[in-house]
């Protein structure tokens, strides 16, 4: 398969989207849930702090949103660049 400019642009757009998603992925889990927890300690949630909520529930909810957002955005990108499965 010869590489066209369009598939190149498609791949770059994909990689950019992946990078943005992974930054959010790391921020909510490793960030808010673990490393930044002391910084969020002032925000109270149901008898404990926001970091605890992110570690036990919040990050899972964000992961879900991320995957569906990526699937929706990529399926659209496939069509825009004409690389979807007919």
């Amino acid at each position: 398969m010869s590489q066209t400019n369009d598939t190149n642009a498609y791949w770059q757009a994909n990689v950019r989207l992946i990078l943005i998603s992974l930054v959010i992925w790391a921020l909510v889990s490793f960030g808010f849930g673990i490393i930044l927890r002391p910084a969020l300690a002032g925000i109270a949630v149901g008898g404990t702090d926001l970091g605890f909520w992110f570690a036990q529930q919040g990050s899972i909810i964000v992961f879900l949103i991320l995957i569906f957002f990526y699937a929706w955005r990529m399926n659209k990108l496939d069509r825009e660049h004409g690389v979807d499965e007919e």
Partner: protein, 594 residues
């Protein structure tokens, strides 16, 4: 009807359902045996993958580990869900586009090397067998409880059932059976949690109840913190372990999730590339239903147990031996004692059972004052918590029967999925791919079944001395998958630079260092007392053996990069293959004629 009969009834009925479905959808051809003819809808596939994925570790073991450690074990929650983000973004759509049966086939083709394929098979076998050990532990506990026998005999009986079950059908049978298993396990997990959440917080949704308030208006987690610190244990919501270790452990579980062959194989079975993306999302939806409930189950069970042992806190009287033996609220203790996983001993002979942390200085002082002679709840296996939970909360008998059926569904579905991955690695990749390429479909199926049997025997032998609680054993398997398979797959898709030599060197380096680190801490081949270090005092700073997978993965990436730089460049046709894997167009519907 007594509890024993009720358990048998629930477990028996659920088994009849699975076997019925397996017969109805029995695999005919090899293609159906491995990949269900690629006709599976993303939602159905998501549900089956969720059942496949959520094993004894998630169902039976995880909430117990969270209950007795609190915040520090949040790693299990984040790690085992966050991996799906990696899977959906970095692997699933491309592997579906590539369109072969197994993970090692992709590695063999992408790195144009049968050695790479062999090494991938070895990595896959090591990770999968470690994983099966954890499942067998769970199966043993579940069978031990519902047959009211020792966990050892539970393990032996359970392994026979798993074998019979996995051999019955291939993926197709398994896919539809797993949908049924998902329904059983999620109902079984949720119903007791709803009851307990209502009892403690008045909120029917356990995930909200966890952050809700008790009858007195005090937040549940505040009350829990007070109760456990009163017994001398660490505060539930606070961080106690090393931050570095927690980050690495979470990361290992995440990368491992995306590197486990039996999960990845699932994404070969959806009709289209776009479906592979959705399918990962649906899988996580079904997993999240359990994972959002699990921390509530853990916290609420810890509260209930502490209050049962000390109805009025440590300033009041502890529960008496007589009450444990006669009061129906404590009947679960006698039942679990039979499995050998729960035990108590009235050390000071005062007729009461004092449960507290006897390593804590404040409590030692209090013990001296009151004449306690150490913690008298001498044995409380973390893995029994979820199964015992409805009994601890005095829920109706049918809920207890349902949970027994759910725990077995979780362990069985994963064990079957893993055995399928193991058998396809041996028969499809090792025998047909390398050693005897001309073998017939029939003998390939036979080889698949023989290798399943061998894997179970190995897992049972190693499972007799498990390296930790079920979820911890499983975490080791994730570390191994993280260090070996995931980096090779990711580099295979995202870099054309990594060549055959780089991939082989990377996988071997990642696998070997991780396996070494695990064996040094858990004993060689998990044989007790052959370890040189312990996880309480690990070789490298705070890094425990369960967290080492992330380091192993980094070693894998680095070695692959350097070796590729020093050896011959990837040929053009392989670069073209990588280009074609990156775009969905032309994915095709099937790989017939393979």
């Amino acid at each position: 009807m007594d509890q024993f009969t009720l358990n048998l009834l629930f477990v028996g009925a659920s088994f009849a359902l699975y076997i019925g479905i397996a017969i109805w959808a029995r695999a005919g051809s090899t293609s159906e045996f491995y990949a269900a003819g690629r006709g599976v809808h993303p939602v159905t596939n998501g549900m089956a993958t969720a059942a496949d994925w959520m094993s004894a570790a998630s169902f039976i073991s995880m909430a117990g580990l969270i209950a007795f450690t609190g915040y520090d074990n949040s790693s299990f929650l984040m790690g085992w869900t966050g991996g799906y983000v990696l899977l959906a973004l970095l692997l699933a759509p491309y592997l579906r586009k590539f369109g072969k049966f197994t993970v090692s086939e992709f590695i063999g083709d992408r790195f144009y090397s049968s050695t790479a394929r062999m090494v991938a098979v070895i990595c896959l076998l090591v990770a999968s067998i470690t994983y099966v050990i954890g499942q067998m532990q769970g199966v043993g506990i579940a069978f031990g409880r519902f047959l009211e026998i020792d966990a050892f005999w539970g393990l032996l009986i359970g392994s026979c059932v798993v074998f019979a079950y996995a051999v019955f059908g291939g993926m197709k049978g398994v896919t539809y059976t797993q949908v049924a298993q998902y329904c059983v396990l999620i109902t079984a997990y949720t119903i007791p949690a709803v009851f307990i959440s209502l009892q403690l917080t008045g909120n029917p949704i356990p995930a909200l109840g966890l952050f809700g308030s008790t009858e007195s208006g005090e937040p549940l987690l505040v009350k829990l913190n007070q109760i456990v610190t009163d017994l001398g244990f660490a505060e539930y919501t606070a961080a106690h372990g090393s931050t570095i270790n927690m980050v690495l452990f979470t990361l290992s579980l995440m990368i491992g999730t995306a590197g486990l062959p039996h999960v990845i194989m699932r994404f070969f079975t959806v009709p289209k590339v776009s479906d592979a993306r959705w399918s990962a999302g649906w899988t996580l939806v079904f997993i999240a239903l359990l994972y959002l409930t699990a921390p509530a189950v853990g916290a609420m069970a810890r509260l209930n147990i502490s209050e049962l042992m000390w109805p009025n806190g440590t300033s009041g009287e502890a529960v008496s031996v007589e009450q444990i033996e006669t009061d129906p609220d404590y009947a679960w203790m006698a039942t679990w004692q039979k499995t050998g996983l729960l035990g108590w001993e009235d050390k000071n002979g005062d007729g009461k059972i004092q449960y507290y942390n006897d390593q804590n200085a404040d409590l030692q002082a209090k013990a001296a004052e009151n004449g306690w002679e150490g913690n008298e709840l001498t044995n409380f296996n973390r893995d029994i918590l979820v199964l015992a939970n409805p009994e601890i909360a005095s829920l109706p008998g049918w809920v207890i029967g349902l949970v027994a059926a759910g725990g077995l569904a979780a362990a069985l579905s994963t064990a079957a999925g893993l055995l399928l991955a193991i058998s396809s690695a041996v028969s499809h990749d090792l025998l047909k791919g390398q050693l005897t390429p001309n073998m017939s479909e029939k003998s390939e199926l036979l080889a698949a079944r023989v290798s399943m049997a061998a894997a179970i025997v190995v897992a049972v032998l190693l499972g007799l001395n498990p390296p930790g609680f079920a979820a911890q054993t499983v975490a080791l398997a994730f570390g191994l998958a993280a260090a070996s398979i995931f980096p090779a797959l990711m580099m295979g898709i995202f870099s054309t630079r990594i060549n055959n030599a780089g991939a082989v060197a990377g996988m071997l380096a990642g696998l070997v260092v991780t396996l070494l680190y695990i064996f040094l801490h858990k004993g060689w081949f998990f044989i007790p007392d052959t370890n040189s270090f312990t996880d309480a005092d690990p070789l490298l700073g705070p890094i425990k053996s369960t967290s080492f997978g992330a380091i192993g993965a980094a070693v894998n990436f680095a070695v692959a990069y350097f070796v590729s730089g020093m050896t011959k460049e990837t040929p053009q046709e392989i670069k073209d293959l990588v280009e074609s894997v990156r775009i969905p167009r032309g994915a095709g519907v099937s790989v017939e004629g393979h």
